[in-house]
């Protein structure tokens, strides 16, 4: 298979992730779409690594995964905190930082 397929698929998944961020209002789902985008990036990285021939892309993909995991932790922690304060879980309503 041509690497091009993988890259095109990656860009399609990335665009889907972008669409999701713009469309959905629940922070949970927005984080999921963020995951989509990161994974699309991973796919592209690995595909290019295959194309080039060394394992650098794969290493980078693993690092990306680690970072994504950390970011998910923080994000979910935020969501839990918001939920515990009984604020609406709606990105449109969470417009101000309030103490």
């Amino acid at each position: 298979m041509n690497i091009t397929w993988y890259i095109v698929l990656s860009s399609l998944l990335f665009s889907t992730g972008v669409l999701g961020i713009l469309i959905r209002r629940s922070p949970m789902v927005i984080l999921l779409c963020l995951e989509l985008m990161l994974n699309a990036g991973n796919l592209a990285l690995v595909a290019f690594s295959r194309m080039v021939g060394n394992g650098q892309g794969q290493v980078f993909a693993v690092i990306v995964m680690v970072i994504a995991a950390c970011e998910v932790v923080v994000g979910l922690g935020l969501i839990v905190a918001i939920f515990r304060r009984k604020l609406p879980l709606n990105v449109d309503d969470l417009r101000e930082l309030r103490g």
């Binding site: 298979m1 041509n2 690497i3 091009t4 397929w5 993988y6 890259i7 095109v8 698929l9 860009s11 399609l12 998944l13 990335f14 665009s15 889907t16 992730g17 972008v18 669409l19 999701g20 713009l22 469309i23 959905r24 209002r25 629940s26 949970m28 789902v29 984080l31 999921l32 779409c33 995951e35 989509l36 994974n39 991973n42 796919l43 690995v46 595909a47 690594s49 295959r50 194309m51 021939g53 394992g55 794969q58 993909a61 693993v62 995964m65 680690v66 994504a68 995991a69 998910v72 932790v73 979910l76 969501i79 839990v80 939920f83 515990r84 009984k86 879980l89 709606n90 449109d92």
Partner: protein, 176 residues
């Protein structure tokens, strides 16, 4: 053979992605993402990146998604209202998504990417037992489902309780 597998995995990935953005219930979105991640793992295998595939399954699907599932169970989360407060968002967002995809594709297709026929060395083998991992996952999911069912049976939904207490789980913090 490889092409067939590619297309199957691709459709799975795409389907999962669309499921993430389209499902009303965030829980279903999480499940869709899990499906997406597995498809992606297959794609990584097709690209002979076995370690990355394994890492994907273990880290992403196994840990991160479990975390997601727990939080969705805790927070609950219904659907979102249909009304869009920002004028033009529902129109512009798909347009921009398509535009982005087209631009990226043009960029990629316009460039000369060599097609690689040979497969690289097999990276991952013997990294964890897929079956064991799958069973652990199943157990976690089942526990949550059962807990949710029991709460419904007692006529209780998580939103009725104070957020500091979880039914069915021993409280770790003193009563507030």
């Amino acid at each position: 053979m490889e092409a067939v597998l590619f297309f199957v995995a691709a459709i799975g990935a795409l389907g999962g992605a669309i499921g993430v953005i389209a499902m009303r219930n965030p829980f279903y979105s999480v499940l869709a993402l899990i499906a997406h991640l597995f498809s992606l793992a297959v794609l990584f295998l097709l690209l002979t990146a076995a370690f990355v595939a394994a890492a994907q399954v273990v880290v992403y699907a196994g840990a991160v998604m479990v975390l997601y599932v727990f939080v969705v169970a805790y927070v609950g989360g219904g659907g979102e209202s249909a009304w869009e407060p920002i004028p033009g968002q529902r129109l512009l967002a798909p347009l921009l998504g398509i535009a982005l995809f087209v631009e990226l594709s043009v960029a990629v297709l316009g460039s000369a990417l060599k097609a690689l026929e040979t497969k690289g060395p097999d990276v991952g083998a013997g990294f964890g037992n897929p079956a064991a991992i799958g069973r652990l996952l199943l157990a976690a999911v089942g526990a949550i489902v059962l807990a949710a069912r029991r709460r419904e049976a007692e006529g209780d939904t998580p939103s009725k309780h104070s957020p500091t207490r979880l039914e069915g789980v021993s409280p770790s913090a003193p009563q507030a």
